[in-house]
């Protein structure tokens, strides 16, 4: 379980997150939605320890990671995977080396075993036989899928997705959504998906949380979330500029 307690985050004088409280249960898929600059990606970075909050605690595997030393965080991160907004594939390595990265860094597996795992993970994301391709040769959707293959290669308990559908066409967005759902079902992982795409959030999530101007204004199951009367939520659900309804 991930438990976020009274978390705040400021960059200089600018408060990006304001007293966030949120619990993410084991095995669930939580979508965190919000407009651009609302603070949702910052929250994701805090959950994986890439940044440290200015206030509050973040409990992960019963450990507060908010101010944990990097060395301890590294050990904890072996149980997590992340799919970055722009994939963040290592562009000097082949697809196969990207997927194999964590295995080579943190295990004593033989190259044969690693090649086997890489092959299997690439098949899971629907990209068999792409081991020798370079990231520069891939489309945006393919990069996202390789990024997912890399994230699941080490067998994580939690997968974080940062804007998985950004920059993709609707068909590819649907493919990625299906992949998130099938990965969750196949591996039983906890998934945290940060997105501004309401359709995707409804499609993939068990619960949806909405952040508005750094504050968590709603969190509920998908069905209940759709019935929330808060004008800021309604505006986001209908894709309207907030000023029109609020």
């Amino acid at each position: 379980m991930i438990k976020i307690e009274n978390v705040s985050m400021s960059f200089g004088d600018k408060k990006v997150l304001d007293n966030i409280n949120l619990e993410i249960k084991d095995g669930e898929t939580l979508a965190i939605i919000g407009g651009s600059g609302s603070g949702k990606s910052t929250l994701l970075r805090l959950m994986i320890g890439l940044d440290h909050p200015t206030g509050g605690k973040i409990w992960l595997r019963d450990k507060d990671i908010a101010h944990m030393p990097e060395k301890e965080l590294d050990e904890l991160r072996l149980h997590m995977g992340m799919v970055f907004q722009y994939s963040a594939l290592f562009d000097s390595m082949t697809v196969g080396d990207n997927v194999a990265f964590g295995l080579r860094e943190h295990t004593d597996y033989s190259e044969e075993k690693i090649a086997e795992i890489v092959k299997e993970k690439l098949e899971v994301v629907g990209l068999p036989g792409t081991e020798d391709m370079m990231p520069g040769e891939l489309s945006g959707g393919m990069k996202k899928r390789v990024s997912l293959a890399r994230a699941i290669a080490f067998g994580p308990d939690i997968i974080f997705y940062d804007e998985p559908s950004s920059g993709l066409d609707p068909i590819m967005t649907d493919k990625i959504d299906e992949l998130i759902i099938s990965t969750q079902k196949r591996l039983g992982v906890t998934s945290v998906v940060v997105t501004h795409d309401m359709d995707s959030a409804i499609h993939i999530a068990d619960r949806i949380a909405m952040i508005y101007e750094g504050k968590l204004i709603a969190v509920d199951t998908v069905d209940n979330f759709r019935r929330i009367e808060d004008p800021r939520v309604r505006a986001f659900l209908r894709g309207l500029y907030i000023g029109k309804e609020a």
Partner: protein
């Protein structure tokens, strides 16, 4: 007006202290990562990069420097009847100062800038975050192999550059100044001692660390965007060259 002047001076001093502190933290962080894991394959990859990228320009720089040094020295020394010392003087000057400094400057321009550009691009495209997310320390993965490669390759290139410089000097001494090869070559062991070479190599190791640490530091601190990458690269090269010249004075005082 005077207060404003003092404020500017104070701000600059503070900025410099922050910079030195930040660079030292990165250096110490990298040193701490060395016993954790050394990625030999990466070190060799970086060494080959450094060697291949820098060898031609080191050859040209050192050959022409040896030649022009001899050009200036030989005529004056012949007038004083001291042509038998030319080879030794050239070897000492190149071994102690010109070899390590010029190789350091060339490596900073050729390799330090490439390190900054590569690492800053990795930062902008979230690849450094990806390393951290996968439990890999970026200092251990990116800085340590580059630092070790520079610590090994800059001295090796310096030895090579020293030889090329002395050979360039020999060419001018023989064919321009008319000093015989026997006199030129014999004067080298007569005046130069092993310490002239080893002292230069100690300098080269230090310069190698400076190039790698500053190259990586500016890469990791680069602001977002293409302009940020460009500015970081320029700052990295300029800083490395200035630090090399400053440290050269200090090291010359200590070593000789």
């Amino acid at each position: 007006m005077f207060v404003r002047f003092l404020e500017i001076i104070g701000a600059s001093v503070l900025e410099l202290l922050y910079f030195i502190g930040d660079v030292m933290l990165l250096f110490i962080g990298a040193l701490k990562q060395m016993p954790v894991k050394i990625r030999v394959r990466h070190v060799i990859h970086q060494m080959s990069h450094l060697g291949v990228d820098t060898l031609p320009i080191v050859s040209l720089t050192m050959m022409f420097t040896g030649m022009v040094m001899t050009l200036q020295v030989a005529n004056e020394f012949i007038k004083m009847g001291a042509e038998s010392t030319v080879g030794g003087i050239i070897a000492i000057a190149i071994g102690r100062e010109l070899g390590p400094v010029l190789v350091g400057v060339v490596a900073a321009g050729r390799v330090g800038s490439a390190m900054t550009a590569e690492i800053s691009t990795m930062k902008v495209t979230e690849q450094i975050d990806a390393l951290r997310v996968m439990g890999t320390n970026p200092l251990g993965y990116l800085v340590v192999p580059r630092m070790l490669a520079c610590m090994i390759m800059v001295p090796l290139l310096t030895v090579y550059g020293d030889v090329i410089g002395v050979v360039g000097g020999w060419g001018v001494a023989k064919y321009y100044a008319g000093i015989s090869s026997y006199v030129y070559v014999n004067s080298i062991p007569e005046y130069a001692v092993l310490n002239d070479l080893t002292g230069g190599l100690v300098k080269a190791v230090v310069f190698g660390v400076v190039i790698a640490v500053l190259g990586c530091y500016y890469g990791m601190k680069a602001p977002e965007g293409a302009e940020g990458v460009g500015k970081a690269t320029t700052k990295s090269v300029v800083s490395a060259i200035v630090v090399i010249f400053m440290l050269n004075v200090l090291l010359s005082m200590v070593l000789y």
